[in-house]
Structures are given as structure tokens and as C-alpha cells.
Amino acid sequence: MLSEWGSAIGRRLLALAPVLLGITLLVFVLNAVALGDPARAALGQRADPEVVRQIREQYALDRPLPVQYVMWMRRLARGDLGHSYHQQRPVTEIIADRLPPTVHLALAATLVSIVLGMSAGALAAARPGTALDHALVGAAVLGISTPVFWLGMMLSLVFAVSLGWLPVSGYGDGDLGHLVLPALTLGALHTGTVARMTRSSLLEVVRLDYVQAARAKGLGEWAVLGKHALRNALIPVVTVIGIGLADLLVGAPLTETVFAWPGLGRMLVAAVGQRDLPVVMGAVLIFAVVYVLGNLLVDLAYLVIDPRTRAGAAE
């Protein structure tokens, strides 16, 4: 078992290198093609040409593009992501600042989607074709298709402005109160996806012989679903959750904007606007790692949930 895990992890990590190389090169080229000079963008309404020249020199923006890319890669090899043009501090520090809020929000939103999504999905699957099923499926579709910005504003208006139960926005001290509304907003989309996936996966599994056998043994419907069917129905659900988590860990600019949440998404959008290439490159690099690791976690979860994937690896 250990070696299976080892090889799964090894394969994923090996795949990381070309992904990272490709994606950083792509971002670098896109940035070079995009209009705008970071030195000028950092200077507000009145730019002193001499200062623009100095900044360009300081950050080697006056060097040919391939040279700039090689310089960036060289620094990266030493674990240095460079300095932000705009904030003039290390990119690692800038990203590290955003990690706790981003991780908090991503985990909370994922938790929301697991709890609400799987319960709704299971409930709908238990009573297929009923009004309850239709209502839940409808709600799931609504969750998927509601614009995040609007949902956030509405939740904020109701629970923060009108009822006064929760704060309108901000990170607070990382307390639960500040987390609830952004987590619900961000979780809504994934809740819908998880619910639909749980429902369809369960409905597929309950038709299988072993579930019929469990029923024939005289087990109650909830025991059949909960103990026997759910475990097998979980694999596609776990995939959705895992990829969803990776999706959320790279930040959610709209939710972060509505709730003034100091996450990675807002940071990246601002950095792109400022043409702050070191920050953009650093963020994209982190995102790529998170995605690859997210997929790795999903694979590992398969190994835990489904013994056949282990046997398959051994054969």
C-alpha cells in the first residue's frame, strides 16, 4: 500500500515540473504582449520620466524578455519569487499574507458544500421523482447558476444589514462570524454541483445487485443508502469536492470583493491591473502547485475509499 501511495505521489510530482514551466512561460508571454508598463502604472497621475527609467532599470524591465524570464527562473531555483514592483516587498511575503484567509474561506466553503450538498443529494436520491427531489434538484441548479456577486450582496443585506446577525464584511480576527456569509456565498456554487453529483451517483449505485441484496436482507432504506450505497457512490463526489477545493484555494475574487476578504483572488486581480508581473507569476505558480496537489489528494482519496483502485495498482 505504501509503495502505491509513493508511486501515485511521485507521478504527480513529476508531472508538476512541465506544468509549472509551461504555465509560467505562458503567463510571462501574455504579460509581455499585454499593453502597459508596470513602472508607469505604479506612479499615479503624474509620472516623472526619470523615475520611470529608474524603476525599469531597477527591475531589469529594460532587458530583453528572454533575459528577464531566465533571471526569474534563476531566482526561482533559489526559492526567490522576486519583489513586487507595486509594493516593493518580497512576493513570498505578499502571498504568505493572503494564505490564511484564503485557506480558511476555501475550507469553510468546501465544508458547506459537503454538508449541504451531500445531504441534499442523498435526500433527493432517497425519494427520486417526488416533489422533494424536484425541489432539491431545482435548488441545486439555482445554487450553480446564481451569480456570486448578487448572492453575496443579498445574503449580506438580509443577515448583516437587516437582521444584524453577522458582520457585513471583513476578515475580523479570523473568527467564525466573519466567515459564515462568504463561505455560504462561495459554497453555494459547489453545493449545487456536489448535490447533483451525489444524487445521480447514488441513483446509479442503488440499481446495482449488491444494494438490492442488502435490501433483500431486510435492511432499512437509510441503512442501505448510508452504509452500502453511499461509500461506492462517493468516488465521483470526491472528485468534484477535491477539484472544487483546489478551485477555491486559488482565491475567489468576486466573493472576496463583496466581503472585503483579504484573499489571493483579489490580490491577483489587482496585480494584473498593475502589471505587477512578479506577483502574478508567483501567484500563478502557487495556483498550479495547488491544482496538481488537489488532484493528487483526489487520487489518494480513491485509494482510501475504493479498495479496487489499490488492487488495480498492484496487478
Binding site: L35, D48, E50, V51, H86, D97
Partner: protein
């Protein structure tokens, strides 16, 4: 103007100020830096002004008063300023301020992001280019006296000494921290730095040993909230004490009973305008520019989109600017005249005119104003193509002269016509330095050169007025409206200045004067 609530004086009532409490203020974006030498934006300045002091400062009516300088004198030839520092002023780190701190701070900032603040000082240009070890024109006479010599007289110099780029910093702290000084600033100001969580909040606390005495407030928290709707909700729930009125809510806020007494609108020193690159065909033909200027009616945007909460512009200078002349006139709306001008330029009814693009930067208001311009120019036969880009791309095309017709306003850094007119229209500033119209007029340059070097007085302002009228007649720049600050201020917030340099939500006002009446 319609619905214009002009408040010249803040509500410093007769009541005795109370001590204590925390002011909850807000910004729309994170300050990029808290180092006065590195800042170029108003958000950074709004914090820097609380943590640091300069030699001088401006009061609500834009009068210059002493800050770290107890007094100052100007030599008869208007070139040498002698500043006498207060004694016993302490940095927040404990040490007393001495004259050499002034020299150090100015030289440090001159090699920062706003060297133009210091470039009038003798020897500054060579120092800025790295060709001198110090700025020769800054001399410490004794421990509490600094003498600053300019190359030539420059009346607005006192404003530069009150500008936040000219804040006094302690050498040992700045050198010890290096670039990290930007996130751990130390000054002499009424508030000292406590913490800053990026994109979330900046926290300051009162500095009890401030040379004017401890401020009334214990603390100030600047929240960073990018969405104006969210800021509005935070204000309504009482989590913010001051904020801005969201776009499109100006009239509603002024009518809505609970907000009515808290919504305050006042004019600031800024003008929204569209400009031409006069080097670029067809805008190198004055008649084309004039035709377009005659076809633009800013009142539609002012009364519709902006709900009458700004003033339609007649000239370049905003009415709150010292030296503003009510006699200056932009080319009036006159479509018949516009058509004649087009025809005389060889494009009757707009026929044969190359396609014209209007460049503007992303933003709802900018988009809608662009659409209005498009409709207004169609009336005289000019089809306008709209080119919307984000700020970085927009400013690039504007600076390098690619954009021929574009949106670009101006907000004064200090209250002098020089900071508007010379910056925007002197041939020496062509390009990113301010004159993006790339306008070169020797007669106008001469007026600016004379006025910039003249002592304060009517003769000086007359020259600016004359130059301003020439620029408007030449249709280099078409003013649309003058900006206003649209603020929400809770009734218990007292002493918050509403100067024309202060704009919601940043409020560049000195918070040491603010107290909470509750």
C-alpha cells in the same frame, strides 16, 4: 449648482471636544506603501499624513500654517526660505527632531517616487540624477534652523513643504528598516502605526507625545473595502463612522431621512476632461478639435449620470482653486458652429474624416460618459469608436501619444494654478509628466514661466488666466465637470475637515482634529 451642498466649514461645534474612542474609516483599495518617499496615491497619503508631519501644513481654507516649523521667512529675492523648527518635537521612536532630519528626509524623498516636489531646490536636479552627493540648496544652519534655496522664485513652494512627500522621517529608523520602512513607518505625527493586514485594515493609535498634544481619538482603523456597496452597508450598520456615497446614490442619500443629515457634498480641486493629442492627425488641425469641443454638452452627464452632484466645467481650473477666474470660458455647445468648423477643415458633415477612436479607462461612469460623447458627436456627423482599456494599458497609450482623443482628468496635489496649468500644458512636461496633449505653445510657456516665478498676487493669477483661455480656445482640452467629494459622515464625528484637497472615502484631512461626540 443644483443640489450642491457646499460645506466650507466642518461641524466643529461650540461643544468641548471629548477624548477617547476609535474612528472607523475606510479606503477603496490597499495603500501600496506607507513610506512618504514611495507614495504616489491618495490612499497612501491619507495614512502618511496621520503618521508624519511636514515643516508646514494647510488648514481647511488652504492657508499655510507651521507644523514642525514654528515659523519661516522668505528672503527679499524670494529664493531663500529659512525654517525655524520647534524644539522638543519627538519622533514616535523617542528621539528629538533636528534640522539634519529635514535635509535627510528631503534628499531621501527626492530619490523616491515624487522627485518633482523637490526639483525647484538648487542642486536638486543633479542630485536626483545621481550626479551629486547631496542637495546643495538644503543647508542646516543650526540644530533648529534649515535654509532652503531655490534656483528661482517659486511661490507654491510653501505648498510643497506642506505636501506629504516632504514628511520628516527619522534617519536611523529609515536606514535600519530599509524597504520595510514602508510597512513599519515611524514619524512625528499625531498617530503612530500599530498594524496593517493587507487588503483588510490599517490600525493607528494616538501618539500621546505629539508636539500639539495627544489627539482626541485613541485609535483609527482604516478598513479596506473595495466594493462601494459593501462600504455603504458597513456605514449603515454602524461599523464605519465615515465613508463615501455610492455612485448613483447621491440624490437619494441627500433626500433619504436617516442619511440626509449625514450626506455631505463639497467641491474638490479636480477636473474631469477629455483631451486631444495635438500632434496626431486629424487633431493636429485646430478646427477639428474646436468642432468636437463645440459639440460636447457636459450638462447632460452632470445632471443625468452624476445627479447634479458635481459642477459642470467652464474652464480648466476648478472654482475652489485659488486663482480661479469666472471669466474663463470653454467653447460653448454650438452644433452649427461645429459643423461649420468641420466643413472648413475639409470634412463637411464629417464626410471623409478618418475614423476617430475615443480612449477611456475601465469604469461604469467612464463607459457611460463615453457613450454620451458618442451620441453627441454623431449629431455633427462624427462617428466615434469607443476604446475601453484598463488603467495600465490606457495610460500607456495616452503617455506615448498613441491615443488621439482620450479621457484623462486631473486632481491637484496642492492648491495653486501652477499644479494644474503648468503641469498640463507647458511644453517641458510633454508626455507622462502631465502634458499628454503634447501641446507646445511658446506664448503659453512664457506666461507659465513668468507666473511660476512671480510672487503671490493678482498679476500672477492673471497670467494663468490668460494662458488658460488660450488653451481652451485652442481646444486642447475639453473640460466636462469639476469633481466633488461625496461623503457620509455620522453626526457624532466632529472636527473632520472638508477641504477641497480632501475627498471621500480617503479624507486626506488631519485626524488629530477629529473627536467623537458620544
Amino acid at each position: 449648482m443644483i443640489g450642491f451642498a457646499v460645506a466650507l466649514l466642518s461641524s466643529t461645534a461650540a461643544a468641548e471636544p471629548k477624548r477617547g474612542g476609535t474612528l472607523h474609516a475606510v479606503f477603496g483599495s490597499d495603500p501600496p506603501t506607507l513610506d512618504p518617499a514611495q507614495a504616489t496615491d491618495t490612499t497612501s497619503s491619507a495614512v502618511i499624513r496621520q503618521i508624519f508631519d511636514g515643516l508646514l501644513e494647510l488648514d481647511e481654507r488652504l492657508r499655510v500654517t507651521g507644523a514642525l516649523a514654528r515659523s519661516w521667512t522668505l528672503s527679499p529675492d524670494h529664493r531663500v526660505y529659512t525654517f525655524h523648527l520647534r524644539s522638543g518635537v519627538k519622533f514616535q521612536a523617542g528621539r528629538e527632531v533636528v534640522a539634519s532630519d529635514v535635509k535627510y528626509s528631503f534628499e531621501r524623498a527626492a530619490r523616491g517616487k515624487r522627485p518633482w516636489v523637490f526639483e525647484k531646490i538648487r542642486g536638486a536636479p543633479t542630485f536626483i540624477r545621481g550626479q551629486a552627493a547631496d542637495i546643495a540648496g538644503i543647508r542646516t544652519v543650526d540644530e533648529h534652523t534649515v535654509e532652503i534655496t531655490l534656483d528661482r522664485p517659486f511661490a507654491p513652494f510653501v505648498y510643497l513643504m506642506a505636501y506629504d512627500a516632504a514628511s520628516i522621517v527619522p534617519r536611523e529608523e529609515a536606514e535600519k528598516r530599509g524597504a520595510a520602512f514602508a510597512s513599519h513607518p515611524v514619524g512625528t505625527g499625531a498617530f503612530r502605526f500599530v498594524s496593517w493586514r493587507r487588503d483588510d485594515q490599517v490600525v493607528l493609535e494616538g501618539f500621546p507625545e505629539h508636539f500639539r498634544g495627544a489627539p482626541y481619538l485613541d485609535r483609527t482603523i482604516f478598513r479596506i473595502i473595495p466594493a462601494e456597496g459593501t462600504r455603504f452597508n458597513e456605514y449603515r450598520t454602524g461599523s464605519l463612522d465615515i465613508s463615501d456615497i455610492p455612485t448613483g446614490h447621491c440624490r437619494a442619500a441627500q433626500k433619504d431621512p436617516p442619511l440626509r443629515d449625514q450626506a455631505v457634498v463639497w467641491p474638490i480641486l479636480g477636473t474631469h476632461a477629455v483631451r486631444f493629442n495635438v500632434e496626431r492627425p486629424p487633431f493636429n488641425d485646430r478646427r477639428i478639435r474646436q468642432a468636437i469641443a463645440h459639440a460636447i454638452d457636459p450638462t447632460v452627464a452632470v445632471n443625468g449620470l452624476l445627479e447634479g452632484c458635481v459642477t459642470p466645467a467652464r474652464g480648466v481650473l476648478p472654482p475652489a482653486m485659488p486663482g480661479f477666474s469666472p471669466h474663463v470660458r470653454r467653447l460653448p455647445l454650438d452644433r452649427e458652429r461645429a459643423r461649420q468648423l468641420l466643413a472648413s477643415a475639409g470634412f463637411p458633415g464629417g464626410r471623409g474624416l478618418p475614423s476617430i477612436a475615443f480612449h477611456f479607462n475601465t469604469g461604469d461612469l467612464n463607459q457611460r460618459i463615453a457613450e454620451l460623447l458618442q451620441a453627441q458627436l454623431r449629431e455633427i456627423g462624427i462617428p466615434l469608436q469607443l476604446r475601453r482599456l484598463d488603467w495600465a494599458a490606457h495610460i500607456k497609450l495616452v503617455d506615448d501619444g498613441t491615443a488621439g482623443f482620450f479621457r484623462q482628468g486631473w486632481i491637484a496635489d496642492y492648491p495653486d494654478p501652477e499644479n494644474f496649468l503648468t503641469v498640463l500644458f507647458h511644453s517641458r512636461n510633454v508626455g507622462a509628466a502631465g502634458n499628454t496633449s503634447r501641446y507646445r505653445n511658446p506664448a503659453v510657456d512664457r506666461l507659465f514661466d513668468e507666473a511660476d516665478a512671480m510672487p503671490v498676487g493678482p498679476g500672477r493669477f492673471d497670467r494663468y488666466t490668460e494662458a488658460e483661455q488660450v488653451v481652451l480656445d485652442d481646444a486642447v482640452w475639453v473640460s466636462l465637470y469639476h469633481y466633488s467629494s461625496r461623503a457620509l459622515i455620522k453626526p457624532y464625528v466632529k472636527g473632520l475637515e472638508r477641504s477641497p484637497l480632501s475627498s471621500a472615502p480617503e479624507f486626506l484631512a488631519p485626524l488629530r482634529k477629529v473627536w467623537l461626540d458620544r
